[in-house]
């Protein structure tokens, strides 16, 4: 039998084949297909163009998370289109109060071994559950929802072998920024990034989601993790233990490239404007004045992230010139954070706590920057204009780095405050 990588194994199973090889074009059955309020209306238009009234893929979900609740009438109208389609087509609706699609997919929909396609580039987040999850455009998602199938070119796989364990104050975000800094923003274009090794075995699920979330920032088609006992415990915590199954690459699988990282050597890392691969240690950017800090998003808006931020914010206050915006990734995260008293810590520290959603990260509402302003965000992108103003600059860092930066008013290595 051919030894397969995780990506090859999942795609072969969905194409009804025993094995596939990189470069092969396969037509695969889709398990989960999603869209959000930015890409959903166009997907619906294309489904209608196909003449299809009822969706066929087993799980089809539309998330209203990018502009939630709607800040403008045009968006309110687009959201009504989504609600009406879900009511008539058999697709599921995740409305404005529920949170960011990728967090919701992790909590409620994706399973190990699944093929997940989404009209959002960070759909790759679900790869942390041992799924093949990839972002596509509205038309691909329309075809996937309507017919239950999609076509894929089987990607070559890079094996990212992580040794050691992250040190205190250093987070998965620092690891992935370090990796992207090394690979480059197009360094893994079309490839699957398969994470493994003792550093991954020891990494809790929130960190695994952060790593897979940003696979696309190196150009990758998917990021994948093995499904192990950590995966099982996560799914059990979400009330979905029956969805778990173990999954790993075959020993002897062929990788195009091996990338080795020592988690123990990673330091708090920041991506500077305006590309994600423009990285530097946070300590080297001390003195960079920051006007706004955003903690949240599909990259770092999970409970573990809010805990990491609260650890540094407890009993402290944001700098007078630095606004602090905290956006839990989902209602479930917000609820748990409230129960633990984390929201009080944030309010006491001078933070704004917003509705779960994508708003500020994508420059729609809830934290748009002024001309010349600098933001440090826990998001995954710092592109020119990303947060709603092409005259502003964005740095990316971990929740701990973000919290330390909010307190100091300038980019700060969080270990200074531990």
């Amino acid at each position: 039998m051919t030894a397969l990588t995780l990506a090859e194994k999942i795609l072969a199973a969905h194409a009804g084949l025993e094995a596939v090889v990189p470069g092969q074009i396969v037509v695969c059955a889709v398990d989960v297909a999603i869209a959000q309020d930015g890409t959903g209306p166009l997907a619906i238009q294309q489904i209608e163009e196909l003449g299809v009234a009822t969706v066929k893929a087993p799980t089809c979900v539309f998330f209203i998370d990018h502009a939630a609740p709607a800040p403008r009438s045009e968006l309110a109208n687009a959201q009504q289109t989504i609600r009406a389609f879900c009511a008539s087509s058999g697709a599921t609706l995740s409305d404005v109060e529920m949170g960011v699609c990728h967090q919701r997919v992790a909590e409620s929909y994706a399973k190990p071994g699944d093929l997940v396609i989404g009209a959002d580039s960070h759909t790759c987040t679900a790869g942390a559950l041992g799924a093949f999850a990839t972002g596509m455009g509205s038309t691909d998602i329309a075809v996937g929802m309507a017919g239950g199938q999609t076509w894929l070119r089987v990607p070559e796989t890079f094996r990212v072998a992580v040794a050691g364990e992250l040190r205190d104050g250093v987070e998965a975000k620092d690891l992935i920024l370090t990796l992207i800094g090394r690979l480059g923003a197009a360094g893994a274009t079309y490839k699957a990034l398969e994470f493994g090794g003792p550093g991954i075995d020891a990494l809790p699920m929130p960190g695994r989601f952060t790593l897979c979330n940003m696979a696309v920032e190196a150009g990758a088609k998917a990021g994948l993790m093995p499904s192990d006992e950590t995966t099982r415990a996560y799914l059990a915590g979400e009330g979905r233990e029956e969805a778990w199954r173990p999954l790993a690459a075959d020993p002897g699988a062929a990788y195009e490239r091996l990338v080795q990282l020592d988690a123990g050597a990673i330091v708090p890392t920041v991506a500077k404007p305006h590309t994600v691969d423009n990285t530097a240690p946070a300590a080297e950017l001390k003195g960079t004045r920051v006007d706004q800090v955003l903690i949240g998003t599909c990259t770092n808006g999970r409970l573990a992230d809010l805990r990491a931020a609260a650890r540094l914010l407890r009993g402290r206050r944001r700098a007078a010139h630095t606004r602090l915006i905290i956006t839990p990734a989902s209602q479930a995260v917000a609820r748990a954070a409230a129960a633990e008293g984390l929201l009080d810590v944030f309010w006491d520290a001078g933070a704004v706590v917003t509705n779960p959603g994508c708003g500020a990260c994508v420059g729609i509402h809830e934290g748009i920057l002024a001309d010349g302003e600098v933001c440090l965000s826990t998001a995954n992108r710092n592109f020119h204009g990303r947060m709603g103003n092409p005259e502003a600059s964005i740095y990316l860092g971990s929740p701990a780095t973000a919290a330390a930066t909010a307190v100091a008013g300038e980019i700060t290595d969080p270990r200074e405050l531990l």
Partner: protein, 171 residues
């Protein structure tokens, strides 16, 4: 393919042109009004281009064109604004797939010698770009057979409707 010979002026862009440059998030409310959004195409990279782009003109990028979001609106408004094709040293994966799906040729070639406003002719059959201003002939990387099929059928939705599902060549 619908048109085999494209001809127009080159509009030059640098490396890493993101979908935020092409279709900014601050114009999110125009996503359901593509003709209006198209008036802002590539605004955050070169604000003057949208108003001056003539039908058939060519968007010429550097490396990793179209990185970032999956928003298909990006290639759609490039096409709607009148561009005949996008030429770049390389493309981000989702943008490339989206462009072909909606019938916009995205062609990978060495764009380094192309000058701003050069008159270009793109021959989709011969697989080359002819820079009529300099006389240079630039081959482009042939599209994979699967992409040629989708583009020839007029995009992915047209392909699926024509064949009642996927009818794609292997390899």
């Amino acid at each position: 393919m619908s048109r085999e010979l494209l001809r127009g002026k080159a509009w030059l862009f640098g490396d890493d042109i993101s979908t935020d440059h092409i279709a900014p998030g601050r114009l999110f409310h125009l996503r359901t009004n593509l003709p209006e959004l198209a008036k802002h195409v590539l605004e955050d990279a070169r604000p003057e281009v949208a108003a001056r782009l003539a039908p058939g003109d060519l968007i010429v990028g550097g490396r990793n064109f179209g990185l970032g979001s999956s928003r298909e609106h990006a290639p759609r408004i490039i096409k709607l604004a009148g561009a005949g094709a996008v030429l770049a040293q390389s493309f981000a994966r989702i943008f490339f797939r989206n462009a072909i799906n909606i019938g916009l040729p995205a062609l990978q070639c060495d764009t380094s010698g192309i000058g701003e406003q050069d008159e270009l002719e793109v021959d989709l059959i011969a697989g080359e770009v002819r820079d009529l201003s300099t006389g240079a002939v630039i081959p482009f990387v042939p599209l994979p057979p699967v992409m040629v099929t989708i583009l020839s059928d007029g995009g992915l939705v047209a392909h699926v409707k024509k064949h009642g599902g996927f009818a794609l060549p292997q390899g």
